[in-house]
Each structure stands twice: as structure tokens, then as C-alpha cells.
């Protein structure tokens, strides 16, 4: 069990998301940086889809009731167990009764903590992810609050493993994978189906000018302000499917980058989509930060995703060798 002494701000249980219920209007949910969750899970010996804790801008204090290995990654947070600092992407052995303190971030927005065994809240519609709008999944369908107690799964296949000595593993995941959110984000995009509806100056501005991330951003989407994006013809559109990464432009002309808690369908124009591998960057956008959009092609986006999957497969093999 893990006891949440201090829940911080917008902390939630997330796994790889709730897939297969969009026809019932159920959002995808899940860790905003799914690659990060997979990496950390592999490190501590979990299934890649195990649930972890996503935190956003805030101080957390957690206490474990038994000995567990943990790992974290994300923005520039300070994570400590007792007096020892845990660097991102390393495995740390935490003993029963010890407290994990998380502070930050100095840069970036979110971080993820995984614990060997995974957060074992019940599966709801096939996922442990919190759907805070639908009020189900995770811990009571809500962001965590002080005093919550989360069950942990049993550590699989870890009995044989050496406890890192000293308590923090000497080896780590590639730092560029686990330290994300450096600021001055550049998001690669491919054109959306309504690209042609925008006038030429707006398309140019979208690709060339800086946008500022607005404060009213959340797990549904990141609002940006800057050049107003205008359409050649304004007409009402029927709602249709949107995806995490879709960049919608509401009538105010400010682009909105959708994230995992977005609705299943939407009626605003879709100017573009952030490519999958850059959702890691989108998950770290924070208020006041500058963001830019750079065009790429579907072919390149798919190449990059395939290459990342290959790198990850190698990493998985490497981790197994460390553990043997």
C-alpha cells in the first residue's frame, strides 16, 4: 500500500489509458507521456501497462507500507527518499515506512512515479486510469487527496533481483528519455483536415511564430495564444472524432492542443496534429512557456514512431540483462 500524506496539485493514477469505449463517449485518459510510463515500468519490472502516479506542479509526500523499488521521470522535479535524492530514470529501493518527497518542477509540468507491482486500483472499463470528468477509474474517479491509500500489486519476478547497492541503481535509462520538458518547446505537426480552410497568413503564422502557453491548460488540452488563426470561410461544422495531439482552433483563433482527457468528438476546425513521438513534449507544456509548431510529414512521423519502438525494444532487453 502507498499512503498519500500530501497529494499535491492534480495528482492522479494513470496507466496507458482506456481504449475501446470511444463509441460510448469515453475519453482515452492515461499518462500524458505514455512512453515515459512504459520506460519506468520496464525499469522496475512491471508490465508496461501498469498504473503509476502522474503529478503536476506540486509538492507530494508519499509513504510506502512495504519495501518497494521505485523510479520516476518527467520535468525538473526534486525527488527524495529520506535525505537521498533520486535522480530521474534510476531505480531506487525504498523501505517500508520511508517517505518519498516530490517538489517542483523548476522546468516542465509533469512527472511520473512508478512503484514495483504497480498501483492496483480496480480496472474500470479495462483501465486503471483516472477519468476525472467521468468520475470513474483511478482512486474514486478523482485526483488524489491527502490521506488516500492506494493498493499496490505484488512485485512480479523480482524476488531474484539484487537490491541496488547503494539503494540507487548505478545504471539508468537514457537521460533524454526521462528528463523531459526543457522549455522552448518545438512540436512537430502534420496538417489536419481543415488546414486548407485557414488563410495563408494564418498558416504562415502557425508555423513560424511563437505561441505562449496559457494558464487555463489541463489534461484535456493546452491553450496557446499568439497570432490569431483565421479561416477563409467560417461555417458551422458537425462534430467529428478528435484525438490526443489534435490542434483545434476555436472561434477565438487561439490554437488548442488536445491531450488524453479530451472529448471523443469535437466541432472546432482541426488545423494540425502533433506527431505521436512529440506528445512527450506536449505533456510538459506549462503556462508562460513559448511553444512553436514545425511541419513534418505523415511518413516522417510514422518513421520516427517506428524508430522509437525499436529503441525501446532494445532498452527492454538491456534492462533485463541488468536485472539478471
Amino acid at each position: 500500500m502507498i499512503k498519500v500524506l500530501r497529494a499535491g496539485f492534480l495528482t492522479s493514477v494513470q496507466d496507458l489509458g482506456r481504449i475501446g469505449f470511444r463509441d460510448s463517449g469515453v475519453s482515452q485518459s492515461g499518462a500524458l507521456d505514455a512512453s515515459m510510463l512504459r520506460i519506468l515500468n520496464v525499469m522496475v519490472g512491471n508490465e508496461e501497462s501498469a498504473a503509476g502516479i502522474e503529478f503536476t506542479h506540486g509538492a507530494l509526500r508519499l509513504k510506502l507500507s512495504d519495501n518497494r523499488r521505485v523510479a520516476w521521470g518527467g520535468g525538473d522535479y526534486q525527488v527524495e527518499v529520506g535525505q537521498t535524492r533520486i535522480p530521474p530514470g534510476h531505480i531506487c529501493a525504498v523501505s517500508a515506512g520511508e517517505e518519498i518527497h516530490i517538489q517542483g518542477p523548476r522546468v516542465g509540468a509533469r512527472g511520473w512515479l512508478v512503484i514495483a507491482g504497480g498501483i492496483d486500483v480496480p480496472l474500470v472499463l479495462g483501465s486503471r486510469s483516472t477519468d476525472a470528468r467521468g468520475n470513474f477509474g483511478g482512486c474514486d474517479g478523482r485526483y488524489l487527496i491527502d490521506g488516500n491509500e492506494l493498493p499496490l500489486g505484488s512485485e512480479v519476478a523480482w524476488d531474484k533481483l539484487k537490491t541496488p547497492s547503494p539503494r540507487i541503481s548505478g545504471w539508468a535509462a537514457p537521460q533524454s528519455w526521462v528528463q523531459t520538458g526543457g522549455g522552448n518547446a518545438v512540436l512537430r505537426i502534420i496538417r489536419g483536415s481543415d488546414w486548407e480552410l485557414f488563410d495563408e497568413p494564418s498558416r504562415q503564422a502557425f508555423l513560424l511564430s511563437d505561441f505562449i502557453v496559457a494558464a487555463e491548460s489541463d489534461r484535456m488540452g493546452v491553450r496557446c495564444s499568439g497570432s490569431k488563426l483565421r479561416k477563409i470561410i467560417n461555417r458551422d461544422m458537425l462534430s467529428e472524432a478528435v484525438a490526443p495531439g489534435t490542434i483545434q482552433v476555436p472561434p477565438d483563433g487561439n490554437p488548442l492542443v488536445l491531450l488524453n482527457d479530451c472529448q471523443t468528438i469535437g466541432g472546432y476546425s482541426k488545423i494540425a496534429h502533433v506527431i505521436s513521438v512529440d506528445m512527450t513534449i506536449a505533456a510538459q507544456l506549462h503556462a508562460g512557456e513559448t511553444a512553436r509548431f514545425r511541419e513534418t510529414t505523415l511518413a516522417e512521423a510514422q518513421d520516427l514512431a517506428a524508430a522509437r519502438a525499436e529503441d525501446f525494444a532494445l532498452f527492454r532487453v538491456g534492462v533485463r540483462m541488468h536485472h539478471l
Partner: protein
């Protein structure tokens, strides 16, 4: 039919133009959903149907060539559609009667609708309950049905300031559509009644009571019936 990327892990199948008859459009969308489901394309994870199109979410790594995932899935869908061409499948959604209590206590915006439509409150209720509706799509929140078929004269613009909390089961009019809030949520539609049914239940095999293509009728019930039918959650 037109298939376009929706980012690099989803695509959108445009089944028909936006100009046709609403019920025919829904039927075409639902038939296509059935064809895609039955094709059991391994990389397809999720489908999001709406008025004239279907969002198809896929895992590029489960396609034959991940670096050409979109082309691969598009070809699979086109093949499935091709082999079903000519088979006249008439989609039939399920028919559901929804009890609604239109008592003043629940009909928070009935006066507003009456004023806008220049009809008496009882007449608004009578016409709403007499309509035949079809679920155009499910969205906005889990299980929320957008129902087409509202009598034209009942169309009423949304509230200029949405309520911060609309109760579960609230039956409402938003523009030319009507719908039911499956759970407590902020919302800007005009509330004219409340249904005791549960419209979204994560414990059920099919969590949403209504699905795209279903046909709906409302039945006016008394306050007493409402209390008897209400399932506390």
C-alpha cells in the same frame, strides 16, 4: 468514401456528405462501423462514430509495416468495404422509451424555452414528449446522446452562461438538438425535465445506455413514478 489521417495513430473515414438526410447518414455511419468491426483488423483499437464520419484509432506497431501504418490500415478498411459492396445492410439501432418527469421542480428552464418558442410550457412538454428521435452521436461526456428529431419550433439557444452543475438524468434542449446528461456536470443546455434512468454505468457490458443510431421516444411520467423508478447510485 474518403479516408484521411487524423494524426499519425488515427484516421477518419468520411462516409457521406453533410447534406443528406440525418437518419440516412446515421444509418450509413453505423453500417460502416459494423463492417470495420467485423473485419477484425488487428491494429484497430477504437472507433469513434459521429454524424457523417468515423474516427479509427490504431496502433501503428501492430500493422504490417509500422513506417507505413496509415496506408496499411486504409487498405485494410477499403478492402473490407469493397467486399461488402452491394450487400444491402439496413442498419437498425435499438428502440428505447425513456421516462421523463417534466414537473416544474425538474424543468429548470421550461419557462425560458416557452418564452423563446412562444408556446405554453405544457405545449413545449407535449411536443417534446411526442417526438421521435435518433441518436446522432455520443460525446461531450461519457454516454451523452445528441438526439436529432426535435420539433423545429422547440429549438432554443443554449444558456449564455452555462450552469456549473447540471444533475444526472437532466433532459435538455440545446439549439436544434435534445439530449440527456448522464451524470452531474457543467452544462449550458435548457433543462426541461429529468429521467430516472441511468444513462452511463461503468459496471454494464455496454456502459452507455444509448448508442449512435438508436431510436428514442420520451414518455411523460409523474413525480411519483419518477421516485419509484429512480435507481440510487
Amino acid at each position: 468514401m474518403k479516408i484521411e489521417p487524423l494524426g499519425d495513430a488515427a484516421l477518419i473515414v468520411r462516409v457521406c456528405d453533410e447534406v443528406g438526410d440525418a437518419t440516412e447518414m446515421i444509418s450509413a455511419v453505423c453500417s460502416t462501423v459494423g463492417i470495420i468491426r467485423r473485419a477484425k483488423i488487428p491494429a484497430i483499437l477504437d472507433l469513434a462514430p459521429s454524424y457523417t464520419s468515423i474516427g479509427v484509432f490504431y496502433d501503428p506497431m501492430r500493422t504490417r509495416q509500422p513506417a507505413h501504418a496509415f496506408e496499411s490500415i486504409r487498405a485494410d478498411i477499403e478492402r473490407a468495404m469493397g467486399s461488402n459492396r452491394g450487400t444491402t445492410e439496413n442498419f437498425q439501432g435499438k428502440s428505447i422509451e425513456i421516462p421523463v418527469c417534466y414537473d416544474a421542480e425538474f424543468a429548470l428552464d421550461l419557462e425560458r424555452v416557452a418564452k423563446h418558442t412562444d408556446l405554453a410550457g405544457e405545449e413545449v412538454v407535449r411536443r417534446h414528449a411526442a417526438g421521435q428521435y435518433v441518436v446522432h452521436c455520443i460525446g461531450f461526456m461519457p454516454g451523452f446522446p445528441y438526439l436529432g428529431g426535435l420539433a423545429r419550433e422547440l429549438a432554443t439557444p443554449r444558456l449564455s452562461t452555462p450552469r456549473t452543475s447540471v444533475p444526472a438524468g437532466a433532459v435538455a434542449i440545446g439549439g436544434s438538438q435534445t439530449g440527456v446528461y448522464p451524470q452531474r456536470a457543467p452544462g449550458g443546455w435548457n433543462i426541461i425535465g429529468r429521467s430516472p434512468l441511468r444513462f452511463f454505468n461503468v459496471e454494464a457490458d455496454s456502459p452507455a445506455l444509448l448508442m449512435t443510431g438508436d431510436r428514442v421516444r420520451f414518455r411523460s411520467i409523474s413525480r411519483k413514478d419518477f421516485e419509484q423508478m429512480k435507481i440510487d447510485d
